[in-house]
Symmetry: C2
Subunit: 626 residues, 2 copies
């Protein structure tokens, strides 16, 4: 099989060159001025007319012959006969002779004979005469024809990006059709039998997932100045995929696909590209770039992106976006990188260039800290948790904490979050965060929340239970009622924790990172103490105590789906999902902030929101003040 020829991964430079060798540039086109914002001039625009097109009064006043005013001043005004008036937008029907003047408004045509304008403030009107109380030189208060732009002058050069300012100048020149660079059309193909477009029904039992890369890539294409065209989803069927690929290649300057997880889809793309074009490259020595394909497909360019969303976006940003911008005539965005220092040490020893996904956070002094985000296995949440990537060269074994790195941002608009927290997944917190602008919060549970605060990565931890570390401050908090979430009507009749232990119930727990799990563990330990038995004995007695799921609603949803009889959860969840609730107690939820981040505005905003959260707690069943 010819794929084997490419088993040596290409150098990243070769990948850039391969893509640069493809021709993505579309024809120039003409667009109405009104729709030209953000477009790029295809050719120089020279002025075709004078601006203004006539000698123009710059003030309201009187058009005069300057010679007539020589020697005039406040004490000794000159008297001129008023022979008419000229309005803006009207042709003068008066001529100004010796000893005469004409009333004139700002912007009006200087009448024949006149060569200056006196401001109305420096005159007095007496019936048909005007007293001019100042001396004028020829040209005073007159903007001569062509003084702003003269016909034949260079106005704007090719490659100019059109913003309001350039559109203003083109307006002045009367240009209403603008020659601009075409936007490269980029076809986006999604393959894989498991992918379903958002909005369509999902069959999880059949392993279906929503297609993430199509919309992400389409949006990123538009951000880079291309025009994205989504093609109907093709599954893994050879005929269908070939026909979509050929259709896209015929209609687009560039075709992008992102790796289906199935090997057969890759094979189909591979075969079609080989038959209808040329494969230039398969696999690049970057992490994540192994599955990358570069080639030609009919008269179009073709790039195959990796399948995992963060990988696809990284490879797109690194290799494809610059080519799209180049084809569109757009400059590289100036703000696409930021510098920062590593918040933690990161080991790396894979021997190939790595685009390490990272998040940004500001420390208390306004420095930018950079921390690795690697949730692995194609987590889509990494998309919003990572702000960009750091290119780590093949020979680097580790990045030290404090080491300065350059982050290539996923979008020029990316900024560090106002406040960065991690910890307990809690519905009241979700609402409180709504009142803070641009927070970032990872619901990784109390244990991980405490760890990240200690590591100096996050500003804030949200935890259950007691114990505030010495270098953190409690901003506030609340209590929440926890217990067992059971189906509506409580069919098994469970009434308390004792029943859970003693009855034959299928239970769903939370993972050990969850503070709520610790609360349950403690309650079970207390029960064991009461009974004078080892807690392991009780745990063993619960069917499913080790069947642990991640988030606050997850156990309840398992119960709802019928795969368990009771789940660890909150009253608010039972209420929300229309289920019954067996209360076991209240637990405190506390928001802790690192002492050296207390001055951050986002931390202060969060503190205010936590302190003012009474209405949020009133809204949520089972919640109350600390």
């Amino acid at each position: 099989m010819r794929r084997k020829e490419f088993r040596d991964l290409a150098d990243p430079e070769d990948a850039h060159e391969a893509i640069a060798s493809l021709d993505l540039r579309p024809d120039d086109e003409t667009v109405p001025l009104r729709e030209s914002r953000g477009r790029v001039l295809a050719e120089r625009v020279d002025a075709d007319l004078d601006v203004p097109g006539f000698d123009r009064a710059s003030v309201d006043g009187y058009a005069v012959t300057a010679r007539d005013t020589f020697g005039a001043d406040e004490a000794d005004p000159v008297r001129l006969e008023l022979v008419g008036e000229v309005h803006a937008g009207a042709e003068p029907d008066v001529e100004v002779g010796e000893g005469e003047c004409a009333e004139i408004s700002t912007g009006a045509v200087l009448p024949p004979g006149a060569d200056a304008v006196v401001m109305v403030e420096r005159t007095d009107r007496e019936d048909d005469e005007v007293l001019v109380r100042t001396s004028l030189a020829p040209g005073d208060r007159v903007m001569f024809a062509g003084a702003d732009v003269a016909a034949g002058e260079r106005a704007l050069g090719p490659g100019t990006v059109l913003t309001p300012r350039e559109i203003g100048l083109l307006s002045a020149l009367g240009v209403d059709e603008v020659p601009v660079r075409g936007r490269p059309t980029v076809g986006i193909i999604s393959t894989g039998d498991e992918l379903v477009r958002p909005g369509e029904a999902l069959d999880s039992d059949a392993g279906e997932i929503y297609d993430v890369n199509s919309y992400t890539t389409a949006t990123a294409v538009e951000e880079a100045g291309g025009e994205a065209r989504l093609y109907p989803h093709a599954g893994d069927d050879y005929e269908a995929m070939e026909s979509v690929l050929r259709e896209a290649a015929a209609e687009c300057d560039l075709v992008l696909s992102s790796g289906s997880t199935s090997a057969s889809a890759v094979d189909v793309i591979y075969r079609v590209v080989e038959e209808a074009g040329e494969l230039l490259l398969h696999g690049v020595a970057v992490k994540p770039g192994k599955p990358m394909l570069v080639g030609r497909l009919q008269d179009s360019a073709y790039v195959g992106l990796p399948g995992y969303p963060v990988s696809a976006l990284t490879i797109f940003r690194t290799f494809v976006a610059p080519a799209i911008r180049e084809a569109a005539g757009l400059p590289e965005p100036e703000t696409a990188t930021v510098e920062g220092e590593m918040a933690v040490r990161e080991r790396y020893a894979e021997g190939r260039l790595r685009y390490m996904p990272v998040g940004l956070v500001s420390d208390g002094d306004g420095n930018t800290l950079v921390y690795p985000v690697d949730k692995g296995s194609g987590a889509t949440t990494s998309l919003v948790e990572a702000d960009g990537v750091v290119a780590v060269p093949p020979d680097v074994e580790y990045l030290e904490a404090g080491e300065r790195v350059e982050v290539q941002l996923f979008s020029p608009e990316v900024r560090p979050p106002s406040v960065f927290g991690a910890g307990e997944d809690d519905p009241a917190l979700s609402r409180v965060l709504d009142r803070v602008s641009r927070p970032r919060y990872l619901g990784v549970g109390t244990r991980q929340g405490r760890r990240r605060l200690r590591d100096g990565v996050t500003d804030v931890a949200v935890v259950t239970g007691d114990g505030t570390p010495g270098d953190a401050t409690e901003l506030g908090g609340w209590t929440r009622e926890w217990g067992l979430v059971v189906p509506d009507g409580n069919p098994t009749g469970v009434e308390n924790l004792v029943d859970l232990v003693d009855d034959d119930l299928r239970f769903v727990n939370r993972t050990t990172d969850a503070g709520l799990r610790t609360t349950l563990d403690d309650a079970v330990a207390a029960l064991a103490d009461d009974r004078g038995v080892d807690r392991h004995e009780l745990v063993e007695a619960v069917d499913g105590y080790e069947f642990a799921v991640r988030a606050h609603e997850s156990p309840a949803r398992k119960v709802l789906s019928g795969s368990a009889d009771a789940g660890l959860g909150l009253r608010v969840t039972a209420d929300r999902l229309g289920m019954d609730f067996v209360p076991c107690g209240d637990e405190p939820v506390r928001v802790l902030a690192s002492d050296d981040r207390l001055e951050k505005r986002g931390v202060q905003r969060l503190r205010d929101a936590v302190v003012d959260a009474a209405d949020v707690l009133d809204d949520l069943p089972g919640y109350g003040p600390l």
Copy 2:
């Protein structure tokens, strides 16, 4: 007249407050995910499903029961019976019992009974049996349901700006209709009998000019996150203007007009706002903000901008854009200001806050220099020559050269030009500049070009004649043939400069800033020497020697329009405009660069373009190498 109440100009803070008191915020709306780029989430989005929705294989390999592999290694593999296979996007039709395994592809559903996946690389297939050469723990190479996002988790908060990353996460959650903040609709009204929309015919004799502010403001509104709606031009007619204003107020969240130069238009707007709403403010104590109006018009907000384009854009950017962004839920752009140091001293003593239009230029060390751009009288070219404004407080009398100032950019994308030059207006130079990315060039003539180079503002001067200043270097240049441009067929039969002096011809000259004018002056002086007369005598003999126009084509165009018989100009211009040409000589045009800017990349690019300009010179009649 009530306008008098407002004769005291309002404090800028009051203007901000008056606009903040207006309600521009439109209703929230729902848009398809595909069209949501750049929009702002109106409400929190919690996950409504688990991602993935099932326990999912992370690699290609075999689904196994981890317990079966305990103790297996390379030397001592365990042998499992292959009982079936599971593909991505298909429901498993196989169960994995003790001692069994099933082939599984990445992304496929873990079949019942299995709790781990072994990578294909760590196995060997022998017919219907698989040798597993590693020990697995439960969960190995499996992404559990909800591990990425769990149902009930907070996904994105209100106020989030949607970029490819957020659109990716929403895709994963299957959200295809997104609740977003509405974009405020901004109606744009243009008034003034003299204004004509670009694309329509212009009658310069009647004092008509193209409407600059409508498209500029519309584009700036869109840049700020609003939706601009242009209303038909209303002239200065009361009925028409009132009806357009009322229509716009009924349809828009905000109505903007920009000052017609005529006082009557202002009066009409004034009356309509008073009758159908409320005037909150008239005139703000900023330069340029005197003509600003703020009020309510029916249920809409109303702001009247100044008439001069740079003034209108400045007031829009300072007072209106923040309100539009606020109403749209968009954050202030981070890159909207830059710091720099004043390139020259600027005096100011007007006693009110001034938004001084400035341009940016990088010096040789990469520092940003800031220089005032004040062409006055509403020049539209200031739009592209200024990059932003510096707020100069009322009590500041001057800004020192070298003083640090903060520039509020007109657009976040604004950057200093790659190379900044000034000097002779020359057609060959226009073409050479096309080959340099983002140059800025002011065709102010040789004299002004030399002055600006000396002042350290520009990088480059383009001059005619000899003399390179001590601290500048010649990058290259060319010669151009100059002479008299006359109507096609040369009806007056002028053959040389002598005829110009001796015959009764109406002449058009260039202004004294033009190097070409100096060349003519020198030639006339030489002729005077030959004749043994004073040069003034010859100059007096030419009808129109002092009738001077600004740019290289301007005299020829005066001749074309019939207002003169001969004009000072270039062979290339005569050729381009289909006119006859009377040659008088060749003059050198030289490109000089400041020695301390020679390292600037843009200067080097320009030098390359000048050196490689042979094809440009070949293309232009009358041009040749230096």
